[in-house]
Amino acid sequence: MVRTGYDLSNSVFSPDGRNFQVEYATKAVENGGTAIGIRCKDGVVLAVEKIITSKLLKPGTNKRIATVDKHVGVVSSGLVPDGRHFVSRARDEASSWRRFIKSPIPTSIIASRLGSYVQMYTLYSSVRPFGVTTIIGGWDSEEELPVDGQVGSGPKMGAGGKDESLRSGGPGLYMIEPSGLYWGYYGAATGKGRQVAKGELEKLNLQNGTLSLLEGVKEAARIIYVAHDDSKDKDFELEMTWISGKDGPTKGRHEEVPAKLREEAEKAAKKALEGEDEEDDSSKGDKMEE
C-alpha cells in the first residue's frame, strides 16, 4: 500500500473512502489479549486472557473486566488505559440513566450510547479513535421494577395494574469496535486469538439458546485456553465474570466467577486441550488463515 498522507489525521477520508486512523486503531486491538463474551440462556459470561508481561506483577490483581452498573460488565482488548476511559464513560451513562429514568439501564441502550461515544472519536481531527474493542454483557431484570417514589404496593388491577403473564428482560451481549460499529452477539471475541475463539464460539451453536450459564463458564475458559498462543506469549491469567438472572447464582448482578468454579473450569480446559493436541491439528489450521 502506498501511503499518501491520508492516514496522518483522524476524520479524513482517503480517495477510496477509508478512514486509515480507525484502521490503525484496530491494529492496536489485534495485539491485545483475547477477550470473549458468551450469551447463555440464563446469563452472560465474560472472559479475558491477561498476558503476564512481567514476573513482578502481583498475581490475581490488575483486573481487566469492569463493573459498570450492578447488572452490566465490560471487558476490552487493546490499549488498557483506553479501556479504562471507556469504562468510566459507561459508568457515567449508567448512573445518569438511573438519575433521570430511575431504573437500571437496559444493556441494549448502554451499548447504543457507548457506540455513539466511540464513533464521535472518529469524527474530529482533534482526537484519536479508541484503541480498544469492547464487549458489553448485561442482564436486564425480568422482574417488575418498583416505581421510584412509590409508597405502598400500587393497584392490583385496572389502570396501573399489572399483567402477570408479561415477561421481559434477559441476557444481552454487544461488541463495539474502534469505528463505533456495534452489533448484538450470541458469542463475541476480540484480541489476538479472536479467529480461533470465533471458530470455537460458532461450534457452540449459541443461537439455539440451549447453553446454560455453568456450561458457558466452562466453555469460556476452554476457548481462552485454546486461543492462547504458547509459542508467542508467556504465561497468562484467566479472568472471568458472569451475570445471571434473579434466580441464578449472581442474582442479577455482574460478579467475578468464584475462584473455585474458575479453577475447575481451567482444569477442564487444560485437560480438553491436551486431548485435542493428540487428536488433530485442526485448531492450528484455523490460526494460519488469519
Binding site: N10, Y24, K27, L56, K58, N62, S125, S126, R128, P129
Partner: protein, 266 residues
C-alpha cells in the same frame, strides 16, 4: 531519509497501531534516575538515587526530595519530569483529603492510582495535550494491606510485588525478579536491604551508595492494626540503612540485622 510521520502528536496512530508520542514519553521516564519499590506482607518500601538534574533538584528539594508523602498512608517516588509529578501528586493530595473529609476514610490505594491513570489517559487522546513525562511508584498501606503500584505516562497502572523505573532500571528489575520469592515474608530491614541491593545493581561501575545520594522511605503495618506512617529517611538518617547493608557483607547476616533493628526502634 526516513522520516517518521506518525510521531508528531498523541492523536495519531502508526500503521501498526502504536502511538509514538506516548512511547517517547516513556523514554523521558528512562532519563530520570532510578527508583525501586517493593512490598512484603507487612511493609512497603521505596528507595531511590538522588542524582537528579539540577533542574529536578530546584523543583523537588523544596518539598522532601524525590519522594512525596501524599497522605499518612502512602507516598510516591518518581522518575522523569518532576514538574509533571508535582501536578499528579497535588491531584492525589486533593483526592486523599477529599476522601478523608467526605467519608472519614483513608483513600483506598487502588482507587487513587486509577484516578491518576484516567487523568493521564486523557492526555494521550486529545490534540494539543501531551502525555505526562513521568513514571511513578506509589507505595502505601490500606485496610487490605501493603501495596505497590507502577504508573506509566500511557495511563497504564499496575499493581506490582516489586518494581523499578528510571535509568538503567532493567538491572534492578532483574535483581528483583531473581529474589521475588523472598519479599513476602521479609522483615522491614530485609526488605530495605533488598531494595538497596537492587538500586546498587543499577549504578554505574564506579559508583557506590552513600548518604549523599540515597534516600529510603518506609511504611508499615504497626502493631494492633495501627499504621506506621510513611517515613522518609534522607541525608544522615539514611546511614542506618546503609550501615545495615555494609555490616551484612562483613558479618553474619541475621545477627547484624537484629542488632540494627533494635537500634532503629530505640
Amino acid at each position: 531519509m526516513f522520516r517518521n510521520n506518525y510521531d508528531n502528536d498523541s492523536v495519531t496512530f502508526s500503521p501498526q497501531g502504536r502511538i509514538f508520542q506516548v512511547e517517547y514519553a516513556q523514554e523521558a521516564v528512562k532519563q530520570g534516575s532510578v527508583v525501586v519499590g517493593l512490598v512484603s506482607k507487612t511493609h512497603a518500601v521505596l528507595v531511590a538515587l538522588k542524582e537528579c538534574s539540577s533542574y529536578e533538584k530546584q523543583l523537588l528539594y523544596i518539598n522532601g526530595g524525590r519522594y512525596q508523602g501524599i497522605d499518612d498512608h502512602f507516598g510516591i517516588a518518581l522518575a522523569g519530569l518532576a514538574s509533571d509529578a508535582r501536578v499528579l501528586s497535588n491531584f492525589m493530595k486533593q483526592q486523599a483529603l477529599s476522601s478523608k473529609l467526605t467519608y472519614g476514610r483513608a483513600i483506598p490505594l487502588e482507587r487513587i492510582v486509577a484516578s491518576i491513570g484516567d487523568r493521564a489517559q486523557t492526555n494521550t487522546q486529545h490534540y494539543g495535550k501531551r502525555p505526562y513525562g513521568v513514571g511513578l511508584l506509589i507505595a502505601g498501606i490500606d485496610v487490605t494491606g501493603p501495596h505497590l503500584y507502577e504508573f506509566q505516562p500511557s495511563g497504564m497502572t499496575q499493581e506490582m510485588v516489586a518494581c523499578s523505573i528510571g535509568a538503567r532500571s532493567q538491572t534492578a528489575r532483574t535483581y528483583l525478579e531473581r529474589n521475588l520469592d523472598e519479599f513476602a515474608n521479609a522483615s522491614k530491614e530485609q526488605l530495605v536491604q533488598h531494595g538497596l541491593k537492587a538500586l546498587k545493581n543499577s549504578l554505574p561501575q564506579d559508583k557506590e551508595l552513600t548518604i549523599d545520594n540515597t534516600t529510603v522511605a518506609v511504611i508499615g503495618m504497626g502493631k494492633v492494626g495501627k499504621l506506621e506512617n510513611f517515613k522518609l529517611y534522607d541525608g544522615q538518617d539514611v546511614s542506618v540503612w546503609l550501615d545495615l547493608d555494609s555490616e551484612e557483607k562483613s558479618e553474619d547476616t541475621s545477627a547484624a540485622t537484629e542488632g540494627a533493628a533494635m537500634e532503629i526502634d530505640s
